[in-house]
Amino acid sequence: MNALTLPTRKAEEWRYSDIDALATIWPTPAPSRIDVAEGDSVRHHLLQDVGEGAAAVHDYVITIADGARCDFHVLNIGGKLGRVTFTVTIGSNAHFELNGAIIGGGDQTLEIITSVTHEKPDSTSGQTIRSILGQRATGSYLGSINVARDAQRTDAFQSIKAMLLDRTATANAKPELEIFADDVKCAHGATVGELDKAALFYMASRGMDPATAKTLLLKAFVAGVFDDVADEAVKDALEAAALAKLETLV
C-alpha cells in the first residue's frame, strides 16, 4: 500500500477514498506484519478512533501458516479519513476471519479493504462487515478473494450489510472474486438498507422515544460483530465505543 507518490482515485482501491485527508499524513507508516506460525491461533483487534478531522491509515499484512488461524475484530469510527486494510495469505487447513463494523457521520470517509489469498488446499476465510452511515459520511468495504490454482476445496464467505440513516450518506460494497481452482466454495452477499419504518412505529407505539428506538435497532444491526471477541475487556471496550458513536448519529 505504501508508495512514495500520493495515490489518486483512479486506482481502484482508492476509488472512494478521501485523498485530501490522506495527503495530510502521507506517506503512511509501513504496514504492521502479523505472521501466524504453523498450528498457532491468534486474535487481534483494532479500534480506529482517531480524532475529529484527522486521518489514519492502518495497513496489515498477515500470513497464516498451515493449520493456523487468525481472528481479527475491527471497529472503524474515527477521523475525517479512517482506512484499515488487510492483505492476507492463507496456508493449507488455515483460517482467517475478519469481523468489522464501520460507523460514521459528518463528512467522514471510513474504509475497510481486504485482499485474501488462498494459496493452498483446504483453507477457509470469512469477512463479516456491518456499516452504519449517517449525514454525509461515506463507508466502503472493498473485499477481494483470490483462490490460487492449487487451493482446491477453499471455502470462503463475505457478508456485507450497510444501513443508511440519511439519504445523504453513501455506502460502497465491492466484493471481488478471482478463482483459479475448480473445487471452491465462495459465498458473498451485500445489502444496503434503511431503518425499518414499521419497527420504528411499533416501538413508538409502545412509548419508546425515537432516539432510543433507533439506537436499539442499530445495536441489533451491529450485534454479533463483536460476539466472539474472547477477551471480555476488549469486547466491552469495542461495544462501548460502537454504542457511543451510534448515539451521536441518532
Binding site: 425499518d196 419504518k197 414499521a198 419497527a199 412505529f201 411499533y202 416501538m203 413508538a204 407505539s205 409502545r206 412509548g207 419508546m208 422515544d209 425515537p210 432510543t212 428506538a213 436499539l216 435497532l217 445495536k219 441489533a220 444491526f221 450485534a223
Partner: protein
C-alpha cells in the same frame, strides 16, 4: 377519556374516515365492528399516530389533551396502547429489552423513576404468567418466529407491563384458536376491566365479545359510525350480517 369528533383522514390522498365521532368514558368497553374496508384499522392507526395516516379534519381529545398534537411515543406515555393486528417482528431485539426500554421511556416522559433490571423482570414474570406465556419466549427477539397466537398473547403481555389507560385493540382475535381466544380474552379483562381504564375493541366477529363483554357496540361503515347500541347489536350483526344492519 377519549372524545373523537367528526374525524376525517386520508391515506395517500384517499379519504378513509369521513366524519367519525365517538366518546369513550373511563370504565367502559366499546366494540367497533364493520365490514372489510370500513376504516376500522385506519381508525386504530390514526389514533396511534402512524406516519402517512393524515388527519384532515376533526379532533380527538385524550384525557383532556389534543391527541393529534402528540407524537406516537408521547401518546403511549399519556396512556394509549395500540394492539396491532399484525405485530411487527424486530430481529435482534429481545422482548425484554424492547419492553424495558419502552416502559422506561414512558416513565421518563412522565417524570417517574425508571425501573431497575430486577424490578422489571419481576413485573414481566407476573404479566407473562397472566397470559400463560413462558418467560423464555420473552428472551427471544420481538415476535420473530412466534405463531399468530403467540404474537397476540405477547401483545397482551406488553399491554400488561405498560399498563395503559386506554387500549385500542385492532383485531386482537384474528389468528387465534378457541383456547387462545379464551386466554387473551381473560387477559384483556384482568388488565383493562377497571373503573379507571377503557378499551376499544376492533373486531370482525362476535366471538371475542363472548369473552370480553362490551358495554357499547358500534357499526363502522364507509368511514362513519352508522349505528350504536348495547351488546345485543353484536348478536344482531352476527345473525343478520352487516349489509342488513347497515341498510336498516
Amino acid at each position: 377519556m377519549l372524545t373523537i369528533d367528526t374525524l376525517t383522514n386520508e391515506i395517500d390522498g384517499k379519504a378513509i374516515l369521513k366524519g367519525l365521532s365517538l366518546t369513550i368514558n373511563a370504565g367502559e368497553i366499546h366494540a367497533i365492528m364493520g365490514p372489510n374496508g370500513a376504516g376500522k384499522s385506519t381508525l386504530a392507526y390514526t389514533l396511534g399516530g402512524r406516519p402517512n395516516y393524515e388527519v384532515t379534519g376533526g379532533t380527538a381529545t385524550f384525557e383532556g389533551a389534543d391527541l393529534f398534537d402528540m407524537e406516537p411515543h408521547e401518546r403511549a406515555a399519556a396512556g394509549l396502547f395500540l394492539g396491532f393486528q399484525y405485530p411487527v417482528e424486530i430481529p435482534g431485539v429481545s422482548n425484554l429489552q424492547f419492553l424495558r426500554e419502552s416502559l422506561n421511556s414512558q416513565r421518563r416522559a412522565r417524570g417517574q423513576k425508571e425501573l431497575s433490571g430486577g424490578e422489571f423482570i419481576k413485573l414481566a414474570k407476573e404479566k407473562a404468567g397472566l397470559l400463560g406465556l413462558d418467560m423464555e419466549m420473552l428472551k427471544r427477539p420481538v415476535n420473530v418466529g412466534f405463531s399468530g397466537g403467540e404474537k397476540k398473547r405477547a401483545e397482551m403481555v406488553q399491554m400488561g407491563i405498560l399498563d395503559p389507560k386506554l387500549a385500542i385493540l385492532d383485531e386482537t382475535d384474528s389468528g387465534l384458536d378457541i383456547d387462545a381466544l379464551k386466554i387473551v380474552g381473560a387477559g384483556i379483562n384482568a388488565i383493562m376491566r377497571k373503573p379507571d381504564k377503557a378499551v376499544l375493541l376492533i373486531t370482525h366477529y362476535q366471538r371475542l365479545l363472548d369473552y370480553v363483554k362490551p358495554d357499547f357496540v358500534h357499526v363502522l361503515a364507509a368511514g362513519r359510525i352508522v349505528k350504536s347500541g348495547g351488546p345485543e347489536l353484536a348478536l344482531e350483526l352476527e345473525r343478520e350480517g352487516y349489509a342488513e344492519v347497515v341498510a336498516a
